[in-house]
């Protein structure tokens, strides 16, 4: 199986509360925050690796994982770390971060898919900076492919995937015939979430979470192929259609009062907050 995994770099999500907003409200300032791979995209990469190996011998690649990102030259760091983790090839689409929106990215990825012809596009359900949650769905529509969003489990079948989706109030299972687009949720990196046809479900359990690149792989990743393309070749004539006019911080919550016991707590909830 050939899998295309689009990745986005984001300002360190574990410290997202430290983002600043310019007084004019015109931009978000992430100075001081490290660039990290969008966590949901990291999970997508882990799932893609699990689908292209047999579980027991991860070095023995049984498919191809191509990672791609849109952004300036520095984004190659994001791609290199994906290559070190196990991806086979990388593509960077030259672009400026703030000259992108979900519609434009989906159009560019469509062209990339038509050129690369993957069996599957696997990506995070959303990037944790813009929280837009739209690129996977848009891409599926542009390609006229079936999709399964918010995937928590994937079982490969002959020419298809059985995908368990996390939906409000339960798990909805879809079967999508390949080629398809799948966007992943948090649970996709649990030990028994993803199995390729090559992996023995009864005998193999993955580690919990995403795998880390061993040091030699980080060195070797520098030699793996990394191609560059431009937005103009992939999405000619597509302009931005989303403009963020203003950013603002949410209203701050302040600490309230301490109560001495449950009786006082119930008093407050009934008589002060009036929520009971």
């Amino acid at each position: 199986m050939k899998v295309l995994v689009p990745l986005k770099r984001v300002a360190d999500p574990d410290n997202a509360n430290r983002i600043k907003i310019a007084a004019s409200g015109a931009a978000v300032d992430t100075t001081g925050l490290e660039w990290k791979t969008n966590p949901f995209d990291e999970y997508a990469l882990e799932a893609a690796l699990r689908l292209t190996e047999n579980g027991k011998a991860p070095k023995q690649r049984l498919g191809e994982v191509v990672v791609a990102t849109l952004g300036p030259k520095e984004c190659e760091q994001t791609l290199r770390s994906a290559l070190a983790t196990g991806a086979d090839r990388a593509i960077r689409v030259e672009a400026t971060d703030d000259a992108l929106d979900g519609r434009l990215v989906a159009h560019a990825l469509k062209s990339l898919v038509l050129a690369e012809k993957p069996d599957l596009v696997l990506l995070g359900k959303q990037a944790v900076d813009g929280d837009s949650n739209q690129v996977g769905q848009r891409l599926a529509e542009l390609l006229d492919w079936p999709m399964a969003t918010f995937a928590a489990t994937i079982r490969e079948e002959q020419g298809a995937l059985l995908v368990g989706r996390e939906v409000d109030g339960g798990v909805l299972t879809l079967r999508v015939k390949l080629p398809a687009v799948v966007t992943v949720d948090l649970r996709i990196v649990a030990p028994t979430s993803v199995y390729s046809l090559h992996t023995d479900q009864s005998a193999h359990k993955y580690g919990d979470g995403v795998r880390f690149a061993p040091l030699p792989a980080i060195m070797a990743a520098k030699k793996k192929p990394l191609d560059t393309k431009t937005l103009a070749e992939l999405a000619p004539g597509v302009a931005l259609s989303t403009k963020t006019l203003k950013f603002e911080k949410p209203a701050a919550r302040s600490a309230g009062v301490r109560v001495k016991d449950v009786s006082e707590l119930v008093d407050k909830l009934m008589n002060v907050a009036k929520v009971l």
């Binding site: 300002a11 599926a140 928590a152 931005l240 950013f247 911080k249 600490a255 301490r258 449950v262």
Partner: protein, 326 residues
């Protein structure tokens, strides 16, 4: 191009999902910019009965598309009909349920329209609309303008009041299903495994009781009675989920569910940023934790520093005493 189109959602029991009422409120708020009236579109295997529930909200018309292939929701079958009907509207909106978030970007792509997802507000500037969206896991809000002729949006349910019937009787009009694309033939609904719980759905509940890792394997034993006394849904921190004390879909937080109930009770939750991102829009927050320094107390309206294994049963008993028979 005038007017707004609200895409309704039908629950498993065939009735209109309450969440739909948030999208109606959203549309009504946007009306001054889009031409003063709205319609509602209902799709399903047996959508006519549900459509009848929606005739009292002041819509121009209630469009109903009934087809066997729509009985089980898939975006591939739903999106073409919505896009076809939506072509003549300026705004197409649904509520940001898991279905809305799956479906509406696909509708937007079909119309090559821009999409504003999970909106916390919509405002009118002259004849244009501004969408206020949470970003950076709720650490910022962006006010967004869309520049395509048609706009597609989803409304965050907790930020919009449920629309109330305004009387009148909108005409119901049948709509033929639009021919789906090739993707529809390659997707198959297999099953929906509903979480078996007597508790309300996490994202719709008026009260949420959430537990952290401190509850250990007594997670449900401690929280169920309190949740029952409060008519609350049960949530969990990521730490509790990762430790296996609660199932994955209970997770409240940046990477889990975003909730904003009237009352949120955090039990044994320290208040990691990732958790707070998922619940800080709650109206009233209560924290019960034995560590008085826990960050959760920084955002709690009412904090109780206590051992949860004693405080929670005591709170449950106190509620039973003060509010007999619920």
């Amino acid at each position: 191009m005038p007017h707004a189109l609200v895409v309704a959602e039908i629950a498993d029991d065939g009735k209109v999902k309450k969440a739909t009422l948030a999208a109606i409120s959203f549309a009504k708020k946007a009306l001054p910019a889009v031409g003063g009236s709205f319609s509602i579109l209902v799709l399903g295997g047996a959508a006519k009965a549900a459509a009848a529930e929606l005739t009292g909200f002041g819509a121009d018309k209630v469009l109903v598309c009934e087809d066997a292939s729509l009985a089980k929701y898939t975006a591939e079958h739903y999106a073409p009909t919505i896009a076809e009907a939506g072509k003549s509207f300026a705004l197409i909106v649904a509520t940001a349920t898991s279905q809305g978030k799956d479906l509406m970007p696909r509708v937007a792509a079909r119309l090559d329209a821009a999409y504003a997802g999970d909106c916390a507000d919509v405002t009118v500037e002259g004849t244009s609309l501004r969408y206020k969206r949470p970003m950076y896991a709720g650490n910022a809000f962006g006010t967004v303008e869309l520049t395509t002729p048609i706009h597609v949006a989803t409304a965050r349910q907790s930020e919009f009041d449920a629309a109330t019937p305004s009387g009148g009787s909108s005409p119901v009009e049948a709509l033929a299903k639009a021919a789906p694309g090739g993707g529809a033939a390659r997707v198959e609904f297999v099953s929906l495994e509903a979480v078996k719980s007597e508790r309300p759905e996490l994202t719709e509940a008026r009260v949420v009781v959430s537990g952290g890792r401190a509850l250990k394997d007594q997670f449900f034993q401690v929280l169920e009675p309190l949740a029952k006394a409060l008519g609350a849904a049960i949530g969990a921190s990521r730490a509790a989920v990762d430790a296996g004390y609660a199932p994955g879909d209970y997770q409240v937080g940046q990477t889990g569910k975003i909730v904003a109930p009237e009352l949120y009770v955090a039990v044994g939750i320290s208040g990691a940023i990732q958790h707070i991102a998922g619940m800080k829009s709650s109206k009233v927050i209560v924290a019960i934790n034995k560590d008085g320094e826990a960050p959760i107390f920084q955002i709690a309206d009412f904090g109780l520093v206590a051992d949860l294994f004693q405080a929670v049963p005591a709170l449950t008993a106190e509620l039973a005493k003060r509010r007999p028979a619920g």
